[in-house]
């Protein structure tokens, strides 16, 4: 693999803490309602090998609100279906004049979701003073989650204390090695007690096949309910990268409760992605 181009954002792991703070600061100055034509004349290609609602639409809105033009390529209905490789697809899009590519891909290079981690960090800082010493519980299918990996790297860099919670198939022991300051528990109550941030993950039903987890058991032990939420600090926030499945990883009551910032996360995705795109194209001013 060759080096990524300047301005690329492929993982949180390889970002310096200062770069992360710079991006978050830049995001605070981005206002989708007051467009600045920072990216006038630029072309942003959204290359999506997997379905997406939030990521795709917010990148598109972010790009357009800065004056860029966007093109959406999805695997179905494109030459990807005919067997064009990822590399050749990239060459093709560059030849068409793409200045930046927003990529979602199920394979290598994609166990992270850096833009989600950044917008989560942005959201946390809207409610909490700082990351240092903050207690964060991440509950659910860590194993299959790009969001969790990126969040762990980011939170760990800033000294937050992260607790991963779920059954062994979702949270293998090895997950604690991901970054410093991460611990594991199998008990939701233990993870949630006294915590400042609760991050829930979708149970990826499509990936349960062949695994030992039964949905009923999972709901019984790990579903976030109003009662369990009471164990957390009173000012704790509830986060979820979406899509939420009400009645599975959380109840509808929790999703809609005042502590839930799930909808804010989506809204914050736009300014954060504006910052990411501006930085990518050297317009981070």
């Amino acid at each position: 693999m060759t080096k990524a181009a300047r301005g690329s954002l492929l993982s949180i792991e390889h970002l310096e803490a200062a770069e992360i703070l710079g991006l978050l600061k830049l995001a605070r100055r981005m206002n989708p309602a007051k467009p600045r034509a920072l990216l006038k004349g630029k072309r942003v290609v959204l290359l999506f090998y997997e379905p997406s609602t939030r990521t795709r639409s917010s990148f598109e809105v972010a790009a357009k609100s800065m004056g860029a033009m966007t093109v959406l390529i999805q695997s179905s209905g494109s030459s990807i279906e005919k067997g064009e490789s990822l590399l050749d697809t990239g060459y093709t899009l560059r030849a068409v004049g793409a200045d930046a590519i927003v990529l979602r891909h199920p394979n290598a290079g994609a166990p992270q979701h850096p833009s989600q981690a950044l917008l989560d960090a942005y959201t946390i800082l809207r409610h909490k003073r700082a990351f240092r010493g903050l207690q964060v519980a991440i509950v659910g299918d860590i194993y299959h989650s790009r969001v969790a990996r990126s969040a762990c790297h980011l939170l760990s860099k800033f000294g937050a204390r992260v607790t991963l919670c779920g059954p062994p198939d979702f949270v293998p022991e090895v997950a604690a090695t991901l970054a410093p300051g991460i611990r594991l528990t199998r008990h939701l109550e233990e993870a949630v007690r006294g915590t400042d941030v609760i991050m829930l993950l979708r149970v990826q039903k499509e990936r349960l096949a062949g695994r030992k987890i039964k949905l009923d058991d999972y709901i019984g032990r790990y579903q976030m309910t109003t009662a369990r939420l009471k164990l957390a600090r009173r000012d704790a926030i509830v986060m979820h990268p979406g899509p939420v499945i009400r009645g599975l990883e959380l109840t509808g009551d929790v999703a809609d409760c005042p502590q839930s910032v799930i909808v804010q996360e989506v809204a914050n995705g736009v300014p954060v992605r504006m910052a990411i795109l501006a930085r990518a194209m050297g317009k981070a001013k």
Partner: protein, 417 residues
Amino acid sequence: MDPASRIDAPMDVLLRDGHVAEIAPPNKTRGGADEKFDARGLIVAPGFIDLHVHLREPGQSHKETIATGTAAAAAGGFTSVCCMPNTSPVVDSPEWVNWIRQPERGAVVNVFPAAAATHHSKGAVLTDFRRLQEAGAVAVTDDGRPILDEAVMREALRAGAQLNLPVIQHAEDARVTAHCFMNEGPTSFRLGLRGMTVAAEAEVVDRDVQLAQMTGGRLHIAHLSTAEALKPVRRAKRAKVRVTCEITPHHFTLIDENVGDYNTNFKMNPPLRSAFDREAILVALADGTVDAIATDHAPHALHEKQVEFERAPFGVTGLETALGLAITQLHRGHKAPLARIVELFTAGPARVLDLRGRGTLARGSFADVTIFDPKKRWTFDAAKSRSKSRNTPFDGLPLTGKVVATIVAGKIVHRES
């Protein structure tokens, strides 16, 4: 230096008519020579033997040919290679074994084909070992795939025992490694890739050792990669069961963390393992548990490797870097005597395949000789490789120890310029 004859001293070697005519202290040979090779300051060893290469013919000549693969072998000091049958089609008939051995293939070193142990290497119906052996096969294997069915493996070992033909096992429980692309551990978790467990290798080795004991068959474990799999091998050797094993240079040099950010030139099967496994392998190479260093040279075209990590084929090239890595890692890094390294490249592999008259410089043996400079520092440049492919994790790596000349049947087939 001929470990098989316990020779480690300045000697003159006289080669005549494709054989070693004399080996004697300096200036004491009786016969005269037409041509002299001054190897003062260098090591003159029996020709190296690589038990495990993929020459990709028939059928995959865009990756490698017998001609290019053996040219790379010669450059790496190998005078004999054993090529695996997982080609297209699979080498499961005497006709294909013959085809590989025909002079038209353009081999510059000795090629000893391993034939498929089962039809199409599907692991169900045994091939005709006797006819394959008569055609020139030196072993049977379904390499690339394991022989998983216990009854089939038992029958293979039993049939092999009657012919004194080794069965080479690619030890991997493929039932649990589907969709796994590297070693199971912190790195696979970090990269979001499914990992192959240590048990998936060790359990197959453990079972096969028991089957070898039961049948009296000769079992050779290809590219052993885990500490756990060394245990049954050690047990077998103590009990005098006919079990041998090989280790690749990449497994004694690298670990799973080196995969970095999805570098497909670090993707092979078995995968790079943990630091713990590598340490155990280094010990086993030194203490005699391991019989041979084998490269598992597995060339792939650039476009095949320049894809998503999960999609890239398993395998790395290795013929030209094996000696340099062995001297750098084992001799300089871990103080293994040079004689032990030479043994792992010569007498050891010759014994595994029962290649009479090879792996030694004893009088009367084949005139296959490898001459190398154990102190020469150099940097491997993949762009200059003789192989058709460039998929190596060692491009640009500084190494110590380089082949100076390779002699096959008395003819110099490679000479360092």
